[in-house]
Amino acid sequence: MLIWQVIKVAWRSILANKMRTALTMLGIIIGVAAIIAMLSLGEGAKKQVMESISRFGTNQLKVRPGAARLGHVRTGSVENLTMDDAEAIKREVPGIRSISPSVGSTGQLKYANRNATSLITGTTPLFMEINNFPVAEGRFFDETDIKLMKRVAAIGTTVRKDLFEDGPAIGEEIKIEGQTFTVIGIMSMKGQTPWFDPDDQVFIPVSTYMRRLYNQDFLNDINIQVESYEEIPDVKKGIERVLRARHRIPEGVESDFSIRDFSEMIATMQKTSQTFSILLSGIAAVSLLVGGIGVMNIMLVSVTERTREIGIRMAVGARRSDILRQFLIEALVITVSGGLIGIALGVGLGASISYFGDWETVITPSSIALGFFFSVLIGLIFGIYPARKASLLDPIEALRYE
């Protein structure tokens, strides 16, 4: 008997019992949908992590004044990180590619009759490279600007919009905290993060900030780019050693500064998505198991109901292998149909997770293939026993069955 003829017979028997088959499929549908949703969530989390990596760079460190404490309560002086500290780190700690001290505070901006408040950041040209945050238009300030403490500024896209709307910005003069600065560049768009909007920033030379604008002699943070990701632990230790010595912190006393890197954040994100994946794969496993048992149950009922049919088929020449194949394919038609509906549902579920939740989801062909594979597998595992039972019926008794 050809395979499509067997499928036709199977399909007809399924259509004869629509409600019962639909209920049986439900377990498979939920199970496969859970697999698809789980994988799309996992892929999405992976993609998000990868994006974060490329956005910030994993080999980036930030040294900040004040001890790291749970709940972000900083203790000790916050005015203890100096330019000399930054230079000492650069000189004494191996494995550092570039280093860029920065200072920052919220300040008033003014252009013509427009006012805005945004973050004023004083830094060095290396900041762009370390943070993977280049200028899109015009130029960033250079070492000469720093040496001469020039009043020049590169502005973020949000600032540009607030002050100039769509008008020209480069070459214009703006007031920062009452002092006149020339706009020399516009930064590329970085995109908002959950913590703050990096595009709502004005960058000025660190020397201008510290001497001319605020007369401040401490740094807010030191951005460091490490040679490679693997060296982060060593570099962190080195910075710790140098700064503790410079700040004369005795053994056993907590540091008055903290070193942060993005690997922690990435690890947290990965852990969250992993927890969710485990939960969903639990749902998938349980509902596939229960669904499979349901398929087996309904197939056993079907074999009993159709005992006479099996007898007739055997009398006209069906071999036991033909009967086995017919019922196995019928189980497969149920699980694969359920699987296909489950795949559609899972894709929809993934889409709604990213729509309503703040999670990114990605449907890959391999996750669809896996969902399909599982529906076939469940059909085979739970279909074989009823099919075998059907094939082992005695034709004479089967023909007599009422």
Partner: protein, 221 residues
Amino acid sequence: MIELTSITKKYMMGSSEVDVLKGVDLKIESGEFVSIMGPSGSGKSTLMNIIGCLDRPTGGSYILNGTRVDEMDEEALAKVRNTNIGFVFQTFNLLARESATENVELPLLYSGVKEPRALAVEALKEVGLGHRLGHRPNELSGGERQRVAIARAIVLNPSIILGDEPTGNLDSRTGAEIMDILKDLNAKGTTLVVVTHDPAIAAHSQRVINIMDGVITGRAG
């Protein structure tokens, strides 16, 4: 040709063994029309099942068209049932969900014939059901159902047709029509073996075999 020699059949009924057939010798030539008669429990159904290769004897030999079939495995027996034997049952035994044509196609699907539809339609026309091809069994009368069953039995040109009370569920007029069709087929050379307890049916046959308590008791015709 059917040649049964010292055929025995034992069944286990609980813990006790029951001898259903106790040494049956029977020879049916090709093209014969034979009736098997006997009361219930005489063993005639068992004998019929063995002839039809649905069951295997416990002892003795069965040669069908020159081949030992009692020693065949189940796969080979399925093939013999498929191509050499056509069954016509008292209760028709049609598949309720399938049309007349699809029911007749059934043996063709298992034999792997390339164009089953054409052969099935031809067989249905032969039994006078050319106008009922797409009807399901529940849309047909008893006589029409039995004609579908006969079309299914002859579609692969078997050498033997086995009828198990083929007119048992039909009124006498329809029964006579069915017997006419079967006799027609016999006249064209098909061996016809009918199990019945109706002497009127047996009267159509060339030879009547009486069976009682698992042995053949007498022959007539």
